[in-house]
Amino acid sequence: MNTPGTELWTVLVIVGLAAVTVLSRCFFFIFDRPWALPAWAERALQYAPVAALAGVVAPEIVMQAGHLVPTWHDARLFAGPVGALLFYWRRNVLATIAGGMAVYLPLHLGLGW
């Protein structure tokens, strides 16, 4: 079914993801006729976006090769929360990236965490 690593397959994925961008950004104004999602779905849209991102991000910070990191000697465990705190302080994604990396790189490159 999926042929790993072939360029054609990757291009297909990229075109598909572009279509997903258009679909999600235009979702409610593609059709002329006014329409609405069922009430429960509109309520779910209050919480689903933040849940989806958290579901993607959390494993990237606390897991390694499919398991919880066995030691706290992992630079990500410190850089992630610092980045989050910086956002609440400065309200700026750039501060999160810069500050988080300022914690991550010394721990990762200096101490090998």
Binding site: V20, T21, R25
Partner: protein
Amino acid sequence: MFFLRENNTHPAFKEAARAMLPMATGIAAWGLMTGVAMVKSGMSVVEALAMTFLVYAGSSQLASIPLIVASAPLWVILATGFCVNLRFVVFSLHLRPYMMHMPRWRRMLNGYLTADMSYAMFTRRFPNPGTTPEQWREEEAFLSGNYFVTWTSWMASSVIGIVLGNLIPTSWGLGFAGVLCLVGILCSLANTPIRRVSALIAGAAAVAAYSLPLKLNIVVAILVAVAVSFWLEKHASSAEGQAA
């Protein structure tokens, strides 16, 4: 569309571009990291460029990179991309009254080019949709000015990242900047108490269900978090009712 004269000669275009300029550095840093992350994950330069210019959605690009590397099934990658993009679905509901006076191709091109920053700045500048053709022209010119700056800084910095990516050793772990970027967007979305709880529960659920195949742990995370949020919503409103 910033390439149409009627938009880029309107005074609102310049106003919007100037207002967006301070954000350009942040967008550029994010684009740079996304460019580096794509190349460091093993995508070819052509693939990385195609992704940058076609997909134009940093968070779904960053989320899909590990899935592409692992050769996950196509529908899993697309479904994950859509989940990460759910915030845009919410934005599109808000933008509908601003868009419906345009023909469909024009709505969709404007929608495609309107990402987080442009949406936020545009809806702050125009809290209510216009009703006259002059107001519509001003709105579209302003929106075009916004996304002209975001699009340009994103594309230029992504291309630089893709070129530099090959010069930077993977062991430095610069790809983590992409994760930090998602952390930033996540925090900006977690702007009510229930949404913060929703994020914590989804994070825990995604880790607990990690061994599920096909990245279904993200779907589980969304379902559990939304269910708990509904319960909290109901509980909070009934507590208020009792207090009153």
